[in-house]
Amino acid sequence: MRRYVARQLVQFVVVIVGISMLAFAILHVIGDPVLLLLPQNAGKAEYERYHKLLGLDKPLYVQYAKFASRALQGDFGKSWYTDTPAFRLVLQRMPPTIYLTLAGLVMALLIALPLGILAALKRHSFVDNLCTMIAVAGQAMPIFWLGIMLIIIFAVRLKALPASGYGTWQHFLMPAFTLGAFLAPLTMRLVRSGVIEIMNMEYIKTARAKGLSERMVVIKHAFRNACIPVITVLGLQFGQLLGGAIVTETVFAWPGVATLAVESIRNQDFPVVQCAVVLLALIIVSINFLVDMIVGLIDPRIRVGA
C-alpha cells in the first residue's frame, strides 16, 4: 500500500505542476498580456513601459517561477477589471459550483441506479431496450439546449419554476436535472454491465443456494460489488461533470465559478481566468487522487497491479 500511495502522490504533484504550467502558458506563451491590457492605439513607448512593469522582459522560466510561487500562496494577482484579488473572487463563487455539481451527481445517480439495475436484471427485455435508447439519446443531447428547452417548458410556459438564479430549492431543480442528464447515461451503462457481470459470480450462486431472497441477493451482494467500478469511473468522470457544470451554469445564470470565468473571458480579465482554471483543475485532480486511494483501499488487486 505504501508504494502505491507514493506512486499516486508523485503523479499528483506532477499533474499539479503541469496544470500550473499550462495555465501560465495560455496567457504568456500563446498570447501577450500587454497587448491584451493596453488599448489598441497605444504607442510603442507605452508598450515597452508595461512590458517592463509586468516583468515580461525577464526569461520565461523566471516569470513562471514567480507565477508559481505566488500561486502557491493563493496569490493569482489582482483582477484587471475590478482590482480585487482574483483568488478571493473565485473563492467566493466556489460554493454554488460545488452545490450544483453535487446536486447533479445525486440526480444522475437517482436516474442511473434504478434504471441500470432494472435493465441488468431484465436483460434484453423491453425495459432494457428502452433504457439503452434513453442512454444513447441522452449522450447525444447538447445539455445547454436541454437546459433552454426546460426553461421554455417549465419557466416560460408552465411558470412552475424560476428560469434562472440561485437561492431556494426550486432554483436547483432544473440545473441539477440538466447536469444529471449529462452524467446519467454513462453511469447507467456502467451500473448495468457491472450488475450483469456480478450476477454471474459464484458468490451470488452461494447466496441463492443459502436461500436468501432475490431482493437480498441483489441489494446486499450484487449492488455493493457493482459499486466499485461505478465509483472509480465517476471519480474519473469528475472533470467531465465539472465541465458539464460550466455549461449548465452559463445556461441558468448560476452564480458559480464557471459564470465568473466566462464573464472574465469576455472582459479579457486573465488573472481571474487563470485562477479559476487552476482551482477547478486542482479540485478535479484531488478528487481523482482520493478516488484512486479509496479504490486501492477497497480492492487490493488494483494497488498491486497498477
Partner: protein, 308 residues
C-alpha cells in the same frame, strides 16, 4: 461503453448455467447484433441526408441566410397561428429565414467537427503509438502530459485559449483539435502495449525492421478499427463543443449562421419565440445522435468485443 454481447437470460434465472458473458446463445446474439447494425445503418442514412442538405444548402435554401426582412420578423413556423408556407420554420428576430440558416449552419458544424477530429486523431494516434512503443520513459512523459490535459475542464480550456487567440473559425478548429487529442492517447497506448507483446512484433525486431516499419506496418494496421470508432464518436463531441462555444459568442461569429450561435441568439427571444432556439438545438441533437448511433454500429460491425 462496454459491448456486452447478448447471452440469453440465463443470468437472471440460471442457477447452474454459467453464462460466461457472451456466446451462450449464439443465434440470439447474432440476431441482436444484426438488430443493432440496422440502427447503425439507419443512422448512417440519416447522417448522409444531413451532410447532403448542408453541402447542397445554396441550392436547397429558399432564401439567402443573411437576407434581412424586418417586416416579417419573428414569424412562427408554418403549423402555428400566423405562420406562412413561405417560411416553413419561421423567421428570426430580424426576419431571416430559419430554414435557410439551419441548412447553412450545418456546414459550419460538420466542417469544424470533421477537420478538428482529423487533426486531433492524427496527433493523438502518433503520441499514443510513441507512448506504447518507445518504453517507460517516453510513456511516463506523455502520460503525465495527457493526465494534465485530461484534468482540465475541456470546455474552460477551449474558452480560455480562444479568449487569448480571438474567436475565428480557424482558431476554433485548432483549439478543439488541441483539446481533444489526449482522449485517443490512452486507448492507442494500451492497445500498442498489448500488440508489442505479440510474436509478430518480436519477429519483426529479430528481422531487423526499423522502428518506423514496425510501428506503421505491423502495429498501426491493428489499430485502424479502434481509431475509426473513436474518431466517429468524437465528431459528435466536437460538434457539441463547437456549438457551445458559438452559443457563448466565442466561436463562429455572427452573422455567419452556425447552429450554436443561432441557439445563443435565439435564447434572448425564447419568452415569445421559442422556435429560434429550439430548431438549431434539435439539429445539433439529431446530428450527434446519428453520429453516435453510427459509431456504435461501426464498433459492432468491426469488432463487437471492442471495449469502448
Amino acid at each position: 461503453m462496454k459491448a456486452v454481447a447478448a447471452g440469453g437470460n440465463a443470468a437472471l434465472k440460471g442457477v447452474g448455467a454459467h453464462d460466461g458473458a457472451r456466446g451462450f446463445d449464439a443465434r440470439r446474439a447474432s440476431l441482436s447484433r444484426l438488430w443493432r447494425l440496422k440502427w447503425g445503418l439507419a443512422a448512417a442514412a440519416l447522417l448522409l441526408l444531413i451532410v447532403a442538405s448542408a453541402a447542397l444548402a445554396p441550392w436547397l435554401a429558399p432564401y439567402d441566410p443573411l437576407a434581412v426582412d424586418i417586416q416579417h420578423r419573428l414569424v412562427p413556423p408554418v403549423w402555428m397561428d400566423g405562420g406562412t408556407p413561405k417560411h416553413p420554420l419561421g423567421t428570426d428576430q430580424i426576419g431571416r429565414d430559419l430554414l435557410a440558416r439551419m441548412l447553412y449552419g450545418g456546414r459550419v458544424s460538420l466542417i469544424v467537427g470533421v477537420t478538428a477530429v482529423l487533426i486531433s486523431a492524427t496527433i493523438g494516434v502518433l503520441t499514443g503509438l510513441a507512448a506504447g512503443y518507445f518504453g517507460p520513459r517516453v510513456d511516463w512523459l506523455i502520460m503525465a502530459l495527457v493526465n494534465v490535459m485530461l484534468s482540465f475542464p475541456f470546455v474552460l480550456l477551449a474558452l480560455a485559449v480562444i479568449a487569448v487567440l480571438g474567436p475565428s473559425l480557424l482558431n476554433m478548429i485548432i483549439v478543439l483539435a488541441v483539446a481533444d487529442w489526449p482522449l485517443y492517447v490512452r486507448v492507442i497506448r494500451a492497445e500498442t502495449l498489448a500488440i508489442c507483446e505479440r510474436d509478430f512484433v518480436t519477429a519483426g525486431r529479430a528481422l531487423g525492421m526499423s522502428h518506423a516499419r514496425i510501428v506503421f506496418r505491423q502495429i498501426f494496421p491493428n489499430l485502424v478499427s479502434v481509431i475509426v470508432v473513436i474518431a466517429t464518436l468524437q465528431v459528435a463531441r466536437v460538434i457539441i463543443l463547437e456549438s457551445f462555444l458559438s452559443f457563448l459568442g466565442q466561436g463562429v461569429q455572427p452573422p455567419t449562421p452556425a447552429w450554436g450561435n443561432m441557439l445563443g441568439e435565439g435564447r434572448v427571444y425564447m419568452l415569445n419565440s421559442w422556435w429560434i432556439a429550439a430548431f438549431p438545438g434539435l439539429a445539433i441533437f439529431v446530428t450527434t445522435l446519428a453520429i453516435n448511433l453510427m459509431g456504435n454500429g461501426l464498433r459492432d460491425w468491426l469488432d463487437p468485443h471492442m471495449k469502448l
